[in-house]
């Protein structure tokens, strides 16, 4: 797969260097600086300009979608299974957390991981027919799952609140309410860092290597003793766990969750994030989320100066479709692979 192709001068001399958490010292420093910058960002210090609430909301959204995209990347990029149902799982996580905290009185701190676990369980259940399937059959099966879950959402008014949506409680910790975006950013950041480190770490373990082996050549993987059905289920469970966490985080940020956000188009959006950002790359998933969610904002900012016609509303979807296709044809590794090539060129 193109996503794992490394530049020519990236030579590895031992197994140890293949399983490091950060590829270079520079990436480690960049990651730490990035996290530190996000920590400082919401602070309001006198005399310094503070970041506007629209930007904060956008960053939080990128975090939530990014977590789900990361989960999808574990499934698509590392395991090589297409899934068209990530948005449905994302929505299931959101509704579950809203339901647990709103109707059953579970604290939001606990309801978010619980929603992740419930979504993972759903993923495993749905994977039962899918675990024996290969390639195209699996893709279409997940498409069917997306349609069925979408239908379930629109039917189960007690769970999703129907067309009006359901209200989710704000996040609170030890009785302190962390409802404002400025506080909530830290919650999302915490989950994002934990989930990213988990994903990066997963690929250093036996299980992670088994997933990659299954992607690269499933017959060989089976021959050396990798249980394909088990690992396929595992990948599905992890991926839907991520989707559930991301969805739950988004639910408690947006406070109103409605079914419209979890349709097939949203699932394609998730795939677009993974492909444009970079298949089989942890940072790539997050870059993809920034790209897909940031692009409309950027387009809107431009559109404010240039008045668009009514057809402009569809320009975004058209651009998205075109971007997916062009990336697949010209740079299947996504932005992350391109970045790796550029830095390799630079270091020479």
């Amino acid at each position: 797969m193109e996503g794992t192709v490394r530049p020519a001068d990236d030579v590895r001399t031992g197994y140890r260097s293949g399983s490091v958490l950060f590829a270079t010292r520079r990436t480690r420093i960049a990651c730490l600086i990035g996290v530190a910058a996000l920590c400082i960002l919401p602070l309001q210090i006198d005399g310094l300009p503070s970041v506007s609430s629209t930007w904060l909301a956008l960053i939080i959204q990128i975090g939530c979608y990014g977590i789900a995209a990361l989960g999808l990347n574990i499934l698509v990029g590392f395991t090589g299974q297409v899934s068209f149902s990530q948005a449905a799982f994302f929505g299931f996580g959101a509704f579950t957390s809203a339901y647990l905290s709103g109707k059953l009185g579970v604290p939001v701190v606990i309801s978010i991981p619980l929603a992740g676990a419930a979504t993972a369980l759903l993923g495993v259940m749905i994977c039962m027919p899918a675990r024996r399937l290969k390639a195209l059959y699996l893709a279409i099966a997940t498409l069917a799952v997306q349609i069925i879950l979408q239908d379930f959402f629109s039917r189960a008014g007690w769970f999703t609140g129907g067309a009006a949506g359901v209200k989710a409680l704000p996040f609170s910790l030890y009785g302190i309410e962390l409802s404002g975006d400025r506080h909530y950013l830290y919650v999302v950041l915490f989950f994002l860092v934990v989930m990213s480190v988990f994903a990066a770490n997963l690929m250093r373990t036996r299980d992670g290597r088994a997933l990659v082996a299954m992607r690269d050549h499933h017959q060989s993987a089976e021959t050396i003793g990798i249980n394909l059905a088990y690992y396929r289920t595992l990948a599905f469970a992890i991926s839907s766990f991520y989707a559930g966490i991301g969805g739950a985080l988004l639910a408690h940020h947006a406070s109103v969750v409605s079914i419209a956000a979890f349709d097939l188009l949203a699932s394609i959006n998730f795939l677009a994030m993974v492909i444009i950002g970079g298949l089989a790359s942890v940072s790539g998933s997050l870059i993809g989320a920034v790209f897909i969610l940031g692009l409309p904002e950027l387009a809107q900012a431009i559109a404010k100066s240039v008045t668009f016609t009514a057809g402009g509303a569809y320009l975004k979807e058209m651009a998205l479709g075109l971007a997916i296709m062009l990336f697949l044809v010209f740079e299947p590794g996504g932005i992350a692979a391109r970045w790796r090539k550029i830095t390799a060129q630079w270091n020479r």
Partner: protein, 297 residues
Amino acid sequence: MNSSHLIQLIAGGLIVGALYGVIAICFVLLYKGNRAANVGHGEIVPIGTWACWWLVTSFNLPFWIGFIVCLGFMVLLSVTMQKMALRPVPGPPVMFVVVATMGLTLFFQALLKGIFGASTKPFPPVFAMQPVNLFGLEFEMSSLASFMCSIVALAGLAYFFKVTKLGLAMRAPASDRQAGPLSGASVRQAFALSWAVAAIVSALSAVVSEVISRVPVAVEPAGVMLFPPFIAGGLESISGVVLGGVVIGLLESLARFSNAEYLGVGELMSVAPFYALLLILLIKPFSLFASVDSKRG
């Protein structure tokens, strides 16, 4: 009362199912010819309808001229699409093609909405509207014509692939990548031809489904609905896919009937095929009519 209603619905299901079968054949053609699952093919169908609608209403062309122009346009479009979007990816993993065509789908869907607006528009009537009485059942003239078209299309395809030299030349590389070209059949020609034939068939079925059944031209795709027959019938078997289409059509009708009579849960019929699809895959992971080769995929 009830039983006659049921029979009426079953007949309707057969008619719709035959149409599904015809459209799903395009998937099979493309899959066999290119090993490419064109997920976006369902989206091509409304393009044909819109083109025909536009020609007929804005230029007041007679229906059949609009139809023929539309056929030519569709062939051009899909051959270009194949050259541009899918050719540069040599022997791609299934995943890439699926997602690339999904991107293409998104693009075309948005383009259509941008050009024609998101609302539905009525197609001018082509056939007489009065119902026809046949075997004690009432049919719209249009749905009978649609059924006839499906049958003719199926027969035509069968003739093309079984008898004509061109059809055989297309099947050869599809069935054996090595032996086919050795016997003189051109792979490139087969690729392009399979797209062209798929385009013609889909344009035909598009116009048939929308014009003849008097459904307003809808942008919202029926594309997703075509997967259940395609998968249920196996990826490579034309007769299997037609059977799958008929089964899914009947299933929709039965779901509508049982819903109206007993269940009352609302729009069950649009989801029922997907439940059936999962069930089929649960029992037979390689669907009902899969060849040995596609199991290895």
